[in-house]
Symmetry: C2
Subunit: 201 residues, 2 copies
DNA sequence: GGCCACCCGTGACATTTGTCCCGGGCCCGG
DNA sequence: CCGGGCCCGGGACAAATGTCACGGGTGGCC
């Protein structure tokens, strides 16, 4: 019996997957969570064999939780399930020690199979996605550039960003300019978009 | 037997819902589509009793398709299932003749129940959402303002927008200014965000 | 007909944004 | 110790953006 932890914020999706996977003969859902902060505690409590994690969650990101989980429960395999096949996400998932990476397109049937393969020690990754991740190269943005860019979502002005990140407005503009350059874009919005697109956050 | 059409772009979600609803004794899935443009043709072909539609789809929006469907197949009830409970979405769904409006949070169990209630002639709407929709008031944006704002997503410059909408750059700026004023925001990005948030697109 | 809302455009103006240059500090690897 | 990278700031400048006031055109409604 494979003990599974399921982390997914969308209630309907979570419920549907739980019901579905519960139908499999050899799978038992031992925990369901809708918040990133609950992943590790619940895992420590229920000792699952596989953790199926969404990335975008309230609280901690599924990627952060994955790294933690691998460190604290090495026997537990992590399988990332996400809406967006961003190259940077895949890269970060691998760095966090995930054993598999699935996107929410693609058929449900793959899911149970992926869980079994992951538990058997295999790696499960969409080949096309892997290629994209490699061709995209690593994240060119520096830590501060990421911070500033992240603070620039939803149209904050330079002053807003500066106070959010505790920097001088002049510095913020410099970082923004650098980020715009590195993302090969023409302005803040495009830079933010490109960075999110690639999973560079 | 309730004949159901299912329109949802995310493969895993669509598959899971289909399997799940297929388990219900009195429900039969007669069509599954992942593209907004296929909704009406498939419906005309398979004559479902209820259409379960996502809003954000490739091709036509589920809301557009809903209006069309109601006009061409009045006997077929429309149930909107969406990720975002935007007030404007609910309003537009009602105007399009939808009988119900569900968000993808909330338990799966509600789904089958909602389908039956809709078919029985009831209206199914989250009360909190209905209140939000009423308190938010109707869409204050004019047609052109919507066009310009929609063209302004992902950081297009004024020139880009102007050529996209076939207007003078000066005019575009005026519309943007008007939209910014009506949305009570401070710049393009915030205006876009606010408009999307409220379902004003 | 007059009112009103929306359409489209112009010109002028202050502000913001993006760029490039400069300074200094810190820390790590050769 | 001397780069080289990242951190943090400043100044100056061109370009883009947001605002306002102003033209004129259309169509609906009372």
């Amino acid at each position: 019996m494979i003990k599974l932890l399921l982390a997914e914020d969308q209630g309907m999706m979570r419920g549907a997957l739980a019901l579905l996977l519960g139908l499999e003969e050899d799978i038992e859902i031992v925990a369901q969570v809708g918040d990133g902060d609950e992943i590790v505690p619940k895992a420590l409590e229920t000792r699952p064999d596989v953790a199926l994690l969404d990335i975008e969650l309230p609280g901690r990101s599924g990627l952060d939780a994955a790294a933690d989980l691998r460190a604290r429960m090495p026997h537990c395999q992590v399988l990332i399930l996400t809406t967006f096949g961003r190259p940077g996400y895949l890269r970060r998932a691998m760095e966090a020690g995930a054993a598999g990476f699935l996107v929410k397109d693609g058929p449900v049937e793959d899911l149970a199979a992926a869980i079994r393969r992951v538990l058997a020690g295999e790696r499960v990754i969409d080949p096309a996605l892997a290629a994209a991740a490699l061709s995209a190269g690593p994240n060119p943005l520096t830590q501060r550039e990421r911070d500033v860019l992240a603070a620039a979502v939803d149209g904050a002005t330079v002053a807003d960003i500066a106070s959010k990140v505790h920097l001088s407005p002049a510095t913020v503009r410099n970082y923004l300019s650098a980020a715009i350059g590195k993302t090969q874009t023409r302005n803040r919005m495009e830079a933010v978009r490109a960075a999110r697109q690639n999973g560079w956050l």
